[in-house]
Amino acid sequence: MFADYMVNAWDVATIVAIVAPVVGFFVVLRGSAFVAHAVPEAAFAGAAGASLIGLNTVVGLGVFSLGASLSIGLLGRRGRHDVVTALALVLMLGMGSLFLSWSTEYAPEIYSLLFGEVLGVSSNEIGITALLGALCLAAVAALYRPLLLTSVVPEIAAARGIRNHRIDMAFLAIVALATTTAVPVVGALLMFSLMIGPPAAARCITDEPLRTMALSVGIALATVWASIAAAYQTDWPIGFFVTAFAFVGYALAHVLRWAREGYARIRARKPLPGGSAA
């Protein structure tokens, strides 16, 4: 399981599991799950196109995901972009199916683009992934405060002179960047379960933003590592395990919150002295 050819997989998966939930925290906070779902699928068309003309997949992924997220931002009206998102998504997927019909690529490779193939990662891709991931984290760190403010209380952000639209565009670009990092590993269809699942679970447990982010990175790392191990043992597609474990994590977090609320209610009924056990 830790043989030479698996080392790359562990490295890349770890990078992805750090980047995706940090971006995903804002995705959940802003309620833009649909965009986070659409951009990776659009990137899939880019990957198909790049393989058609013999370019590196990462280039295709980057160009298409950036193009999709920027056009979603530009065509959307007053921050509402669900219709435009749906349309951009299907247009990109349509182009993806066109490129696929032209190419002579074997079906398994398409399948791995859609559903992920950790074992296919080569050493020189790790460098690009790490670079893009670092860029993504730096962008989030630089925009941390305005992003948080526009996500939670857009009115106050506007009153403070923050341009909501510009932050929105910057955020979409960050999502595109994260997509480019992660799609080769977990696949276009499943990338966003890593973005949504861990942050949604972490938000059930804590409210403080930085702690939520740290917690969701922890959950994502556990999910990804367990998935690689399970996929290695069973030979089943890794995408299945990533989504299943992400969902289990979310369900567990819900149960935990429910239990804690119940405990707090009982304690409120008969006041006890002493510290908080939460």
């Binding site: 749906a86 032209w102 995408g239 989504t243």
Partner: protein, 310 residues
């Protein structure tokens, strides 16, 4: 005249059985999707609509594994998933998005597994592409009667629920005050969406059926504000785009680069997207011109005015 007709419709177009089936099935699907789509767009449930159709992948791959027609797989999984989404989802808009996303990703993960089993069991690897991207030309004539029946059911239920649905879409509070069971209505609508998604998944594949659901409806709502009118316009736009897609795909057998025909689904989606862009640009220019007339500076709108006439 005859030359033009021959250039547009390649020889043998109207005598081919797959083409005839595709024309009929495409029209049915487009009409139903247009009507359901208008309400979907009005309720802001594009994501749920997309999720329901993408989740058809789960049913489609399961049906392939068992060996029944994919239509029934799409249908069953749609109904189950609609129920799951209603159970997990909350009434708040943001919570709803995350709940939809989680159900969607989990089910996609499951379908990844099922597709993997499909490829192992049949040693044919084309299944993934057939289920995901579909092809109008591949519909067998046997499924058409079932499709007609299902779409009639869908339209009848929609007509029955039309007024309460519209009211609860515009204002849930008002509908609740009138004694309409808003939550049950929401579930009923999710089921309707699942039904129409199943139909269009057969036609253009699970991940592109969103195009037929959202595209024509969004275009129609740019052109008219009256819901019933918008449904009719959306149906018409859907039928036109599907048929145009079929004609183009049939012609493309002689095009570069491969000489084996471009996918129908691509053409359908491309036509729908172009129509939406034109309608959107038109209304934006109209709004800009109205604003200019009010402020009295028509010069700003001048250079763009030519685009609108296209």
């Amino acid at each position: 005249m005859g030359g033009v007709v021959n250039a547009v419709f390649a020889p043998g177009f109207f005598h081919s059985d797959p083409v005839r089936t595709a024309l009929i099935a495409g029209a049915i699907v487009a009409l139903v999707s247009g009507a359901v789509g208008v309400i979907t767009v009005l309720r802001g449930q594009s994501f749920a609509g997309h999720a329901l159709s993408a989740l058809g992948t789960l049913g489609g791959s399961a049906a392939f594994l068992v060996g029944v027609s994919p239509l029934w797989g799409f249908l069953t999984s749609g109904v189950v998933v609609a129920g799951a989404m209603e159970a997990v989802g909350t009434q708040r808009r943001r919570g709803r998005d995350v709940a939809t996303g989680l159900v969607l990703s989990t089910a996609l993960g499951l379908s990844a597994l099922l597709l993997y089993f499909d490829t192992i069991a049949n040693s044919t690897t084309g299944v993934t592409i057939t289920i995901l991207f579909g092809s109008l030309f591949a519909i067998s004539g046997i499924t058409v009667p079932a499709m007609i029946l299902l779409s009639l059911v869908c339209l009848a239920v929609l007509a029955l629920l039309y007024r309460p649905l519209l009211l609860s879409s515009v204002s849930a509070e008002l509908a609740a005050a009138r004694g309409i069971p808003v939550r049950a209505l929401g579930l009923a609508f999710l089921l309707l969406m699942a039904l129409s998604a199943a139909l269009s998944s057969v036609a253009v594949g699970t991940i592109l059926s969103t195009a037929l659901l959202i595209g024509p409806a969004a275009t129609a709502l740019r052109l008219t504000r009256r819901p019933a009118m918008a449904m009719a316009v959306a149906g018409a736009i859907g039928v036109i785009s599907t048929w145009a897609g079929i004609v183009l795909a049939y012609d493309s057998y002689h095009w570069a680069p491969a000489g084996k025909g471009w996918p129908v689904s691509f053409f359908v989606v491309a036509v729908i997207f172009t129509l939406y862009l034109v309608a959107d640009l038109g209304t934006r220019l109209q709004a800009a011109r109205a604003r200019d007339r009010r402020t009295g500076s028509p010069a700003a709108a001048q250079p763009l005015a030519t685009v609108r006439s296209s």
